[in-house]
């Protein structure tokens, strides 16, 4: 029996029936080697211990949703007593004295932490190549990037090093790597999952989400990590539905919008074809396709980077080499702080800090930051209009499939533009899920995104689950 291919639900059933133990389950994942630089830290000893504890709890008749299930956590999510580096030299030795809210919830549900996953430095990037520890490789083709910034988490799930991994998504950092690595990745509605303990990149856009093999698995994990947290004032005090109740449904009567702008020249032919084929399949299965237009599309990337970098510049100011993090040299406070930041941050992070300060600085604020805020309101308005005619929106996740390592991740503008399909959902606080809808001739996965109304993760999980049950995935051997 290939345990790593099981759904989380069947793993739980086999654990509960004592057919397998958590230790065996963990071993089946840890036997597989991380050849992709997917992890920054592997917590192997701790994992073995946690699995043993889980087995005792199961033997004692305890029943928690993820009891005994292995899982990985992106390395920008704080874990008490375990290094949390953000893949940056700045935090290479940082050990948080607290758990993120999601980690507390996972612990309470009995998960087994396998390790902290590699990423773009401070989650800034779409390739997972800006990690100070070395770039992540795509399990489908190790000469290609896994996408980013949560590339490590995507690779962990694709390579079946763990059945699930948490990621964070600020402008596509879950959905895009999920599409490059051929797995399911969901970014919940802003506020659905607490950000407490997530090292902030852009606070109004960041959202923690989940990578899994399937939408059905993502429902299991999302059930655990969702919910109001009094330590995050932006977390929503709304009830968490049972997301698994949206599984195994059909799509009859579902209205799916296809915004024209997402299917123009900006996306490659094979991507367009694969996503339109998926749309056709939905239609044949009883859904209605709704053509529509989102005029703000052309401005979205600019608005996104202005908002994200402005917030990032402020969020990353706290790294001064005094309280924690890389300690630079210099006899005076002023010299120390500049030296710490010069050495601690990589080129992409520095560019974004500079850009963010530019957008906020006196004389430029109104033209850039304030205009981006206005665009945000406009984007939300356009989504609201679309959602009067449709239940979900279907778009490509990325313009192209995974690109070659070294091909374009050093061209900042090209990298910014590659986020064009994903940033709008973050700007509008909406949930989005990526699932695989096709493969290129070279066997590279192509992903599509389903965007839902605020707090309608159930709707997009249900649609993705329907598609997945009728689509043949090409798993990594």
């Amino acid at each position: 029996m290939e345990l790593t291919k099981l759904s989380i639900k069947s793993m739980r059933e086999k654990l509960v029936s004592r057919e397998i133990t958590s230790a065996e389950l963990l071993a089946s994942f840890s036997e597989r080697k991380d050849e992709y630089f997917a992890y920054v830290t592997q917590t192997s000893d701790l994992a073995v211990e946690s699995a043993q504890v889980a087995d005792l709890r199961i033997a004692a008749g305890e029943n928690a949703p993820l009891l005994g299930i292995p899982g990985a956590v992106k390395d920008n999510i704080c874990t008490d007593g375990i290094k949390t580096t953000c893949a940056s030299k700045m935090l290479a030795d940082f050990i948080p004295p607290y758990d993120a809210d999601v980690v507390q919830r996972l612990k309470q549900s009995g998960y087994v932490l396998t390790g902290k996953t590699n990423m773009d430095e401070f989650a800034m990037g779409s390739s997972s190549q800006t990690s100070v520890f070395g770039g992540v490789k795509n399990p489908y083709d190790v000469t290609r990037v896994p996408g980013g910034s949560s590339g490590g988490s995507a690779a962990v799930v694709a390579a079946r090093l763990a059945p699930f991994a948490l990621g964070s998504d600020t402008g596509g950092s879950i959905r895009q790597p999920a599409s490059f690595c051929g797995v399911t990745g969901i970014k919940p509605t802003y506020g659905r999952v607490s950000r407490y303990g997530l090292v902030a990149f852009a606070s109004s856009l960041d959202q923690i989400g989940v990578f899994t093999k399937t939408a059905a698995d993502s429902a299991e994990v999302l059930n655990v990590i969702s919910g109001y947290d009094k330590r995050d004032a932006t977390s929503a005090n709304v009830p968490t539905p049972d997301f698994t109740s949206y599984l195994n449904r059909d799509v009859r009567g579902l209205r799916i919008a296809l915004p024209d702008e997402y299917f123009g020249d900006t996306v490659g032919d094979d991507v367009r074809t694969a996503v339109l084929n998926a749309a056709k399949y939905f239609e044949e299965s009883g859904a209605t396709l709704v053509p529509c237009s989102m005029k703000v599309f052309d401005y979205a990337v600019s608005a996104y980077y202005l908002l994200a970098c402005a917030e990032a510049a402020s969020n990353l100011s706290r790294f001064d080499g005094v309280k924690y993090g890389l300690r630079g040299e210099g006899a005076t406070y002023e010299q120390r702080i500049v030296d710490s930041r010069n050495k601690g941050f990589g080129a992409e992070v520095k560019r974004r800090i500079l850009l963010g300060n530019y957008a906020l600085s006196s004389g430029y604020y109104d033209a850039y930051y304030r205009k981006a805020q206005a665009l945000r309101q406009e984007i939300i308005k356009e989504y609201n209009d679309v959602f009067t005619k449709a239940d979900i929106i279907l778009t490509p996740t990325a313009p192209e499939p995974a690109f070659k390592i070294g091909s374009s991740e050093n061209d900042p503008i090209k990298m910014f533009l590659a986020d064009i399909c994903t940033v709008m959902a973050n700007i509008a606080y909406l949930p989005g899920i990526n699932t695989t809808c096709g493969y290129t001739d070279d066997g590279l996965p192509i992903g599509m995104s389903l965007i839902g109304k605020r707090f309608d993760e159930g709707g997009i999980i249900g649609a993705a689950d329907f598609f997945e049950r009728n689509f043949r995935r090409k798993d990594i051997p």
């Binding site: 999510i77 953000c86 950000r195 090292v199 852009a202 995050d232 510049a313 001064d320 005094v322």
Partner: protein, 473 residues
Amino acid sequence: MWSTMLKPTIGLEIHAELLTQSKVFCTCPASFGGSENSRCCPVCSGLPGTLPVLNQKAVEFIIRAGMATECDISLFTKWDRKNYFYPDLPKAYQISQMPRPVCLNGKVRLKSGKVIRINRIHLEEDAGKLTHEGGATLADYNRCGIPLIELVTEPDFASAEEVTEFVAEIRARYMYCGISDGKMEQGSLRVDVNISLADEHADTLGTRSEIKNLNSLRSIARAIEYETHRQGEILGKGGKVTQETLRFSDGTGETSSLRSKEDAHDYRYFPDPDIPPVLITEEEIAVIRGTMPEMPSSRYDRYVNKCGIPHKDAENIVADKHLSDFFDEAATLLDEPRKIANYLLSELLYRINLGEGTTDNLPFTPADFVRVIELVEGGKVSRSHLKDILREMLATGSKPDSICEQNNYLIKEDLSLVSDTIDKILAENVAAVAQLKNGEQKVFGFLMGKANSLLKGAATPKIIKETLEKKLK
């Protein structure tokens, strides 16, 4: 002479720490002091991944401050980040309020009738404490995140006297609403002064300097006087005042230049994405308004105009909310406000000023105090025992009646004993009685003295005097 032509224009920023239980954006205790970094958590220490969560009481308290100063209370209010690097600010930004503060457009009337306009009051977080030791600086973040309100006036002041009256008034009002302890010496209330000089007929203001962190009324007055003089001399010589931030030294009595916090002076304010804006309803405002105490200026008017208390006494009572509350309660029990004021200031406050107690923690009730007044005024206890009774009440909180009983202070009014004792005195002092009858009036005092000392506690001096007079007729 320059001094006759140049007039100062002064504006203020008054910072006050709020008396909440917890800090403004985290649940650490907001109390003063504590050993280094012992009142901190990952949030107020600025550790990565942590988030601020706004304290409702801090918002209620700034609303109270706004009501105390006739501000408009905003129904929609937001918090912004003020970005600058300084080691007392662990996040490298201070959470403050820029375009949408809680309070706007207030005013306070000085005793002269002049109105000082308040531009705004906003709610922000305090910074940590740095101590410079040898070559290094040590940072303690206990104070980080203590709620701080900043009141900004229009440049409406023309003298140090107006400024100190205003600061004292704001301090009293904050203490009256229970939002600040007003302790300037501990830094829980601190003042920045903006000051510029210009020709009295000029229609534009001169270049201003800002004196930071003044923490006593005396320093404020001295700093303003020094700075007025300094700028006057510069302008008098035809020079130009530089716009700068200054500190005032209590030791030298002089101002000196302070390095600015951010060399670039570009704070890049933007709405804090971690803190959603807050909506306050008219109903919530009405509820808070319903709990507002009468302000000191209005109490002062009442004491002077309705109670007939002298100005100075009214001022002294109002200056201390605890005293004023005590007075008001006592006045509901005894309709003699002037008498109460008199006993309160010359007897009770006198003892308190000697260090026998504090007004915020009196161990007895206004009813007990009124009882003391009644005992003395009703002739039940000699006035000479008053200080002993009050001293014991302050020390033990005992009831006045039991103190008097235990110490034999109660005048028994034993008329036969008075009569017998006076007869005896007159018999023993035949010569004196003869002198008195010859018209030597001063001898009466001698006899009164004898009677008083022998009859102490047996009767009031009035009865003794009447009996003596009767027997001498």
